[in-house]
Amino acid sequence: MPNINDILIMLPELYLVAAACLLLLLDAFMKPEQRGLLHWLSIAVVLVAIYLVISGQPEQPVRAFGGMFVRDGVAEILKVFALLSVAMIFVSPRYYLADRKLYVGEFYTLMIFAVIGVMLLVSAGNLITVYLGLELLTLSSYALVALNRDSALSSEAAVKYFVLGALASGMLLYGMSMVYGATATLDLATLHNAAAHTGVPTLLLFGMIFMIIGIGFKLGAAPFHMWIPDVYQGAPTAVTIFIGSAPKLAAFGMAYRLLESGLGDLSQHWQQMLAALAVLSLAIGNLVAIVQTNLKRLLAYSTISHMGYLLLGLVNAGPEGYASALFYAISYALMGTAAFGVIMALARAGFECENIDDLKGLNQRSPWMAFLMMLVMFSLAGVPPLFGFFAKFLVLQAAIHAGMLWLAIVGAVFAIIGLYYYLRVVKVMYFDAPVEGTEMKMQQDPAMRLVLSLNALSLLVLGLAWGPLLGWCKSVFPG
């Protein structure tokens, strides 16, 4: 029987569920021209959730509902950044959505439900909770991708996402059932102990492989990356921003819960698999990105390569490695929101600004936007003093520390290859003349400008002062 303590531990999630339902109701009774109220209310709802997460954070990890739900430091940091990214995403897309007749209440409520899924997933103490959180997140995401239902591209992306996502969920469930068969438990803490004492863990290892496939799919690591380019391109940019930020944090949380909390003692087995996924992701992501002409697709392949770097941190399988991977996930979420934020800011009615050539001469038209995008590109490329460099530095260090110098060198080589396509974007913005006859008007939404500027400048600020964030990341993984 759940007691009041269990409820308090889960308060942020329960609050968000209630708030989302209220927003849905409110939306049904509101006139379309009053939607601005819903917009600001949603932002407030998310900000309050951040407050609840931080203020109610217990000193020591606590478990609720018989160990189904864990509230610890890892969960806190992931939730804070996931909610923060959603708050940023909520501020920006009002005009973008309105221009495309997508300015509907569902955008906000679906995204809140998705972030509830993220929060459940990163707090999971049980395989069932992992699955519940994952499904809540992905089902909301499918709907979000299909938000622009009149667009063939959008619908195609949603169907692809749904089919492949369902397949991955099936794999994950299959793996979980095998793990259950081998250890007779679904609780991650019990599983951790049981896995250590299983004689020949063939069944367990098979289960683990299927679970890693599920994780690989969620991360978008090659060879489970097929959905990423289509979904990134097909989804409305306002949704792509989301897909590229909070779910990446969730995927890290899922990998951490399943691999470390659950199968930590089998790390010698999964380290090798993750290393293979990392090399494949680095190679496919960086090489295929070179030939892209569509900016959203380019960023999609760049995501794949970034997940490769994140895996370099996970491969370490120690507190230092998890801290670096978490740091990487946060840095990627910030870079992703900023990159797609610029794309969205430059889009207008009937014009998506999604080809690289659409950015031609941006420095002449809007020097500030060009500057922000340049910060993002150099950060993605890993050039100091921007945030992305330090994230790369930390994962390379984690890989070398794990004795995988070769993996770090592979990472370094692909960083050079990746550099090229990020530089190409800077080149187009700064060195090319604007195409005659096209105009490039910024959306004059001051709130969006502010948030976007803060987001991109944070890459510079955090690059100069990344110590506190790293300290926080390290503190949640006791050695």
């Binding site: 460099f389 390379l396 110098l405 530089l423 800077v426 060195f431």
Partner: protein
């Protein structure tokens, strides 16, 4: 103020770039004056280094150290010795001249140009001050961003190709250094350069690290065969970009050898000194011949830079043969000193040469030697400076170009006369390619009607050239202050060379 002199020197130009940018394209003159003010202030501040720094003391001075990343023990650590002071002064000196040099020349978004120059200046000063390897790396790499923009926006027709090549080449070299630095960090638990210098390393480790450092710094210097980005970058860069690139950025490669290869991996550096010496000689002789056949003035000076930088790497690594092979510390010091003087001198001379070419280019919009001829008839004052710098470039005694090269040749003679012989080739080849270019550009009849219309240098250009000329002559006639400034630091370095790590 003097407690934070180094931080001020780094951050003043970088922060100063913000008001320059804010002045915007609408008020180009305001932007120009602000950037000149910032550059002059930085130069004046850097002069205080001469009073605050004690050249008799070889240790690092004016130190500042703050914990930057507590959980990794990374410090924001700055300090300078005589070598750094000399290079910082070179940087701030050139910093003013490129701003003045670009005054009316850059009409397209001058505020962005000036801001990029100022940021670049601050970052380069940071490289010369950093005592923490990670901080060094951050400055070292961050430098690429403003340079990338400078070449890409204000460069010549093939600027995009040149700037991408420049960025990717340099990044390629340095990322392996990053892997090496992480390896060292995991071993030593610190990025502090002094700690790393004291860290015992096996020969195998040293060898890998040596080549990782070599990859980074050889590209930057640049040494043969990874020099190919330099001619492209120089040719396409705007005049100011070329000046900074040749005068300061190349020195960072030589400086890196001093701070990383020598103290951290001395035994591997000794074992592979022949590689560097061999490549340096190839640079001096072969690249000299390559320079001879160039038809583009900027390309010619770019190749001559590669050849002259060969003396820097030769002087640094010949010291190993002398200290460890022959036990001749005095000669080693001479060689090392020669390398340092050559770095500073080449900074002035190459900066001046590129400024001269810029003056010509602004008038005729061509860098081809064949388009000129008889320039002396219409631009006598310009001709005076051009000849002076050409003489310095070919190493005429009495100019700065002579001092360093002569010292390096003297030192290498004591190691191996054959090395000295090949190095001394530069006296012939250098004179040949430089003076032949002068002959074709300045002397003879005016054949091109556009040349006849060219006006002599104006006051602004004269200021830049006079400043460079004063430095070149002063250093050539009386190098003693510079040598004194770096003397104890060079002695300490030479002494360090003798320390075996295995």
């Amino acid at each position: 103020m003097f407690n934070h002199l180094l931080s001020l020197l780094i951050w003043l130009p970088i922060v100063g770039a913000i008001p320059v940018l804010l002045a915007g394209s609408g008020r180009p003159n305001t932007a120009r004056w602000i950037s000149l003010l910032v550059a002059v202030l930085t130069f004046v501040l850097s002069l205080f280094l001469l009073t605050q720094h004690n050249p008799a003391d070889s240790s690092k001075q004016l130190g500042e150290s703050y914990l930057w990343i507590a959980s990794l023990g990374v410090h924001y650590g700055l300090a300078v010795d005589g070598i750094s002071v000399a290079l910082i002064l070179l940087t701030t000196f050139v910093g003013i001249l490129v701003i003045v040099g670009a005054w009316e020349v850059i009409q397209n978004k001058p505020h962005q140009y000036m801001a990029a120059m100022l940021v670049l200046e601050g970052l380069m000063i940071g490289v010369f001050c950093a005592t923490d390897a990670l901080l060094f790396y951050v400055f070292f790499e961050a430098m690429l961003i403003p340079m990338f923009i400078l070449i890409g926006i204000w460069g010549g027709p093939r600027r995009v190709y040149a700037t991408l090549k420049f960025f990717i080449y340099t990044f390629l070299g340095s990322i392996f250094m990053l892997v090496g630095l992480i390896y060292l960090y995991l071993k030593a638990g610190s990025f502090d350069l002094a700690t790393l210098a004291a860290l015992p390393l096996s020969m195998q480790e040293q060898t890998w690290l040596f080549f990782a450092f070599l990859a980074a710094f050889a590209v930057k210097v640049p040494m043969v065969p990874v020099h190919t980005w330099l001619p492209d970058a120089h040719v396409e860069a705007p005049t100011g970009g070329s000046v900074v690139l040749a005068a300061v950025m190349l020195k960072i490669g030589g400086y890196g050898f001093l701070r990383f290869s020598l103290p951290i991996v001395p035994d591997a550096s000794e074992a592979y000194a022949w590689v560097v010496i061999g490549l340096s000689l190839i640079a001096v002789v072969y690249i000299g011949y390559v320079a001879l056949v160039q038809e583009d003035m900027k390309k010619l000076v770019a190749y001559s830079s590669v050849a002259h930088m060969g003396f820097v790497t030769l002087g640094i690594f010949i010291a190993f043969m002398l200290v460890r092979g022959a036990g001749n510390a005095d000669a080693a010091k001479l060689g090392m000193q020669g390398a340092m003087v050559q770095m500073i001198s080449h900074g002035f001379v190459s900066g001046a040469m590129f400024s001269c070419i810029g003056v010509l280019y602004d008038r005729l919009h061509s860098r081809q030697i064949k388009d000129y001829g008889g320039v002396i008839n219409v631009m006598p004052w310009f001709g005076f400076f051009y000849v002076l710098f050409a003489m310095a470039n070919s190493g005429l005694p009495g100019t700065s170009g002579f001092v360093g090269e002569f010292q390096v040749i003297l030192a290498s003679f004591q190691a191996n006369p054959w090395i000295a012989l090949f190095a001394a080739f530069t006296l012939i080849i250098g004179a040949a390619y430089t003076l032949w270019m002068v002959k074709r550009v300045l002397w003879g009849e005016v054949t091109n009607p556009h040349v006849a219309e060219m006006k002599d240098i104006n006051g602004r250009e004269a200021f830049v050239l006079i400043a460079f000329a004063a430095a070149v002559v002063a250093l050539g006639v009386w190098p003693q202050p510079l040598i004194h400034l770096m003397d104890s630091s060079v002695s300490a370095l030479v002494q360090q060379l003798g320390n075996h790590k295995i």
